[in-house]
């Protein structure tokens, strides 16, 4: 089975949020070398010709990050070479080699958020602004637990997020997994944080009524 067929047959989801209020993000799109590292030539042209070049650039970046997170859920670690992730002009799909993922990009003056996914249905997602307290990593995990609990009709206390250490992974750990009573639920999830924003996505591609919980009754 090739990569495209594998991802078509399984569900995967990635999401990425960019906090546009981060000052150090503002000038990135104006630097040709940054554009070249992130964009294909036609994508770079889109940024340069855009009426909102900052949102356009970060929309492309977030789309590629989201797609990367989805791809590694089923294909394991792959090289993160941004220009190889190609975002369609209408921002409805993102392609990596022979894999095509569905895509949705939302942008405002405050943020850019991208969702990339395979399989049927539409991923459930949540985005919040936060202040101080816990680390962004802890806060985004709690956001996912609360969001998943509501969507699945479960208690957040019974859910957990784990990432298994993986030396070859870009940040030293595998993709996040949603656990219920210590066992992995077969639902792809994705976490993202940037600046004061946190976001998560839940790849629910079957009806909640059909979800089988390990060691539990059908809910």
């Amino acid at each position: 089975m090739n990569d495209a067929a594998l991802l078509d047959a399984r569900s995967a989801v990635g999401n990425d949020v960019i906090d546009l209020q981060q000052e150090d993000h503002h000038a990135a799109f104006q630097r040709p070398r940054i554009l070249k590292r992130i964009c294909s030539p036609d994508e770079a042209q889109r940024v340069q010709e855009s009426a909102r070049p900052e949102q356009t650039f970060w929309g492309l970046f977030a789309a590629k990050e989201a797609a990367f997170k989805a791809v590694i859920q089923w294909l394991g670690q792959v090289p993160l070479c941004y220009p190889e992730f190609r975002v369609s002009l209408d921002q409805r799909t993102v392609e990596w080699r022979d894999v095509r993922l569905k895509l949705e990009v939302r942008s405002t003056e405050r943020f850019v958020h991208a969702l990339a996914w395979s399989g049927t249905g539409f991923p459930s997602w949540a985005l919040r602004a936060t202040r101080g307290g816990q680390s962004s990593s802890q806060r985004v995990r709690q956001l996912l637990l609360d969001h998943a609990a509501r969507r699945l009709g479960l208690s957040a206390d019974q859910l957990a997020v784990r990432r298994i250490p993986r030396a070859e992974a870009w940040d030293g750990a595998g993709p996040p997994e949603l656990m219920h009573r210590g066992r992995p639920l077969q639902i792809p999830v994705s976490l993202s944080h940037d600046g004061n924003l946190i976001a998560c996505a839940l790849g629910i591609t079957c009806g909640v009524g059909l979800l089988r919980l390990p060691g539990d009754q059908l809910k």
């Binding site: 993000h25 940054i34 992130i38 090289p79 070479c81 870009w170 940040d171 940037d194």
Partner: protein, 84 residues
């Protein structure tokens, strides 16, 4: 440049991008750039460009993808500078 000299320059490059400034004080060659120093993935490209500018080297996307730790960056720089 010696390994120690390259290490010091790499640390100076990472410093403005590291959110975990306390981790910089305890930094070693094994320190993870993303996980320990908490450099945002959106800023990794800036780090790569700084490495290119400060050391006068070219870092390909494939090279950049192999850099996980401070030591990976130091070894990459030394390999490129010694081969030039």
């Amino acid at each position: 440049m010696t390994e120690a000299e390259v290490y010091q320059v790499v640390i100076s490059i990472l410093t403005p991008f590291a959110k975990a400034q306390d981790a910089l004080a305890e930094c070693t060659m094994e320190t993870s750039i993303l996980k320990d120093l908490k450099v945002n993935s959106a800023r990794l490209v800036d780090v790569v460009l700084e490495l290119e500018d400060r050391f006068g080297i070219e870092v390909t996307d494939e090279d950049a993808d192999t850099v996980r730790t401070v030591g990976d960056a130091v070894r990459l720089v030394r390999a490129r500078t010694q081969s030039d």
